[in-house]
Amino acid sequence: MIDVKNVTKRFGEGQAAVTALGDVSLTIPEGSFFTLLGPSGCGKTTLLRLIAGFELPTEGEIALDGESIGHLAPNNRPVNTVFQNYALFPHMSVARNVGFGLEMLKRPKAEIDSTINEMLDLVQLGEFATRRVDQLSGGQQQRVALARALAPRPKVLLLDEPLSALDLKLRKGMQSELKRLQHETGITFVFVTHDQGEALAMSDQIAVMSAGAIRQVGTPEEIYTAPQSRFVADFIGDTNIVNATLLGFDGDAAKIKFGEGTPLTVHAASTSLSPGPVHVALRPETIHVVDERAETALLRGEVVDSTYFGAGSQMLVRLEDGVSVHVQVSTPRPVGSRVGLECDTSMLHVLED
């Protein structure tokens, strides 16, 4: 288990200082596939480098299984990294690359050799042991980098966008390969990506980051179905975000209304919001299209576009306040017609900004 406690990282001093991470706290469970997800420059690499030991925290503490490691040099941490550009040693064979960690730990030769074989089998590169690393394809180099980082059996494996250099097909293959490796080894994987699809497909847990802060931590399902903030909802994908008015709270539930409609009771990300205009998340697949005059319609608007995608159609409905909403339907209404939108109020929830 990794415990990141109130870690702040600043680069530079005085006027020119950049705060890459601001008071970040995070718990990464042991043996999990944990993903750091966020846009470019949000501090994902910095957090990874802090865990690996390439950077020291300006403030705060990092602990691994209860022991503080924040001040240790990288070679004294039971943590290994798969670098974005692989960083395989060009002057060594594939086998020696894979055995490097154990060689530095001065393990017996027999153990090193058997681990090299085991690791190369694990990543299906058995027959490449004697090759030079520059004689391998990008995907093969990637797997050597994985084998090299796994060989010393670290407690934690850090992966910084390891798939971004691969083409789409190879990428899909490596995604399931990584899942399999994590499962077979039981090692905690901390995986960095800015691709939400990748994060949702692979992770046990996701931490969504923005601007040096963690916005939400949860399982892919929680992040997908119940984004807490407008940022997370926006970043994770095709969620609709509509305007509403918050009237107040009833325990944990929020009372809201759309336009001049009837008050509704829905979930809220936080009870600290003050009454007034708020944003509400609405997943496309939870919306039903009904007649404009239907009593049950919560929102009304005009169909402005409709795209067929095989299993159904996606319609774009412009609401009265100008906000557009995506809806998935099996039989689309003609463009230009006016419709009402109905949805399960238990699937609605109020976002923080």
């Binding site: 390439f54 990288p74 990294t81 670098f83 960083a87 395989l88 490097f100 960690g101 530095m104 010393p152």
Partner: protein, 276 residues
């Protein structure tokens, strides 16, 4: 006149500049003056005649004579001894200096350190020579130590910047990710240096060492002032001989020196090209 001026017009670009007749002519003239004397020297070292201006017949007799000459052999041995020692010491120092100036992070005075290391390239050699002579005389007197060590020390000092340049160039081209990866895989700083940095740096180190060797082998001015009795290097011996006129024997020795130098410089060039 128009043609002459046109080479200064920026719009013509470098491709155009190369086609200017004046430019081509100048280049050939420079090359001629640079290499013709060397060619003449090399050719006459194979002349079967005492004259160094009149060609008679091909022969290797002056090479034989040079190799049998005890003075030449002794001074060649001294040259090699001094050059090898200075190469080893200056390359080690230059490697450490290059590591400190590229891998030690940014610290106050780093630019100053780099400038200081390269300073011997800027100061006229005769000034360094006189300063070294004076300084070493004091040290010799104070310590009572004599011998070839002083000459090696002097050579080491002026070889450092030559060895430093290619090593530093290679180090700053080399990604620090390799070293990070080694540290990540439990290598101590020393293990990282030994198993990763040094092997990857080797072409730069070899290039630096060869430059240092050539520079030491060719040196005259500092050696002339610093060398003690019986420490005559090959260039100094040649200098002494030609006071009595150029002999084919000197031509032969010079040709060997040129051959050695050209080989080293060519090797250096290829080592540096083998960057990627």
């Amino acid at each position: 006149m128009d043609k002459l001026l046109s080479i200064f017009r920026p719009s013509t670009g470098s491709r155009e500049l190369r086609r200017q007749p004046l430019f081509t002519g100048m280049s050939w003239l420079v090359l001629l003056f640079l290499y013709a004397p060397i060619a003449v020297l090399v050719v006459f070292s194979f002349n079967d005649n005492r004259s160094v201006v009149r060609w008679t017949e091909f022969s290797l007799r002056w090479y034989a004579a040079a190799l049998e000459n005890d003075d030449i052999r002794r001074s060649a041995m001294i040259s090699i001894q001094v050059a090898l020692s200075a190469t080893v010491f200056s390359t080690i120092i230059a490697t450490m200096a290059a590591l400190a100036t590229t891998r030690g992070g940014v610290y106050r005075g780093r630019s100053a350190a780099i400038a200081l290391i390269n300073q011997p390239l800027m100061i006229p050699e005769i000034v360094t020579a006189i300063a070294t002579l004076a300084f070493f005389s004091i040290l010799r007197q104070l310590t009572g130590v004599t011998g070839i060590g002083w000459l090696i020390l002097a050579h080491t000092v002026f070889c450092v910047p030559f060895a430093y340049m290619p090593i530093r160039a290679r180090l700053s081209d080399m990604s620090v990710t390799y070293e990070a990866a080694a540290a990540d895989l439990y290598a101590t700083p020393w293990q990282t240096f030994r198993h990763v940095t040094l092997p990857l740096l080797m072409p730069g180190v070899m290039a630096g060492a060869m430059l240092a060797f050539v520079v030491s082998l060719d040196d005259v001015i500092i050696t002339l002032l610093v060398a003690g009795p019986g420490e005559t290097t090959l260039p100094i011996y040649i200098l002494g001989q030609i006071r009595r006129g150029v002999t084919p024997e000197v031509n032969a020795v010079s040709t060997i020196l040129i051959g050695l130098t050209v080989t080293m410089v060519t090797l250096t060039f290829f080592l540096q090209r083998k960057r990627k």
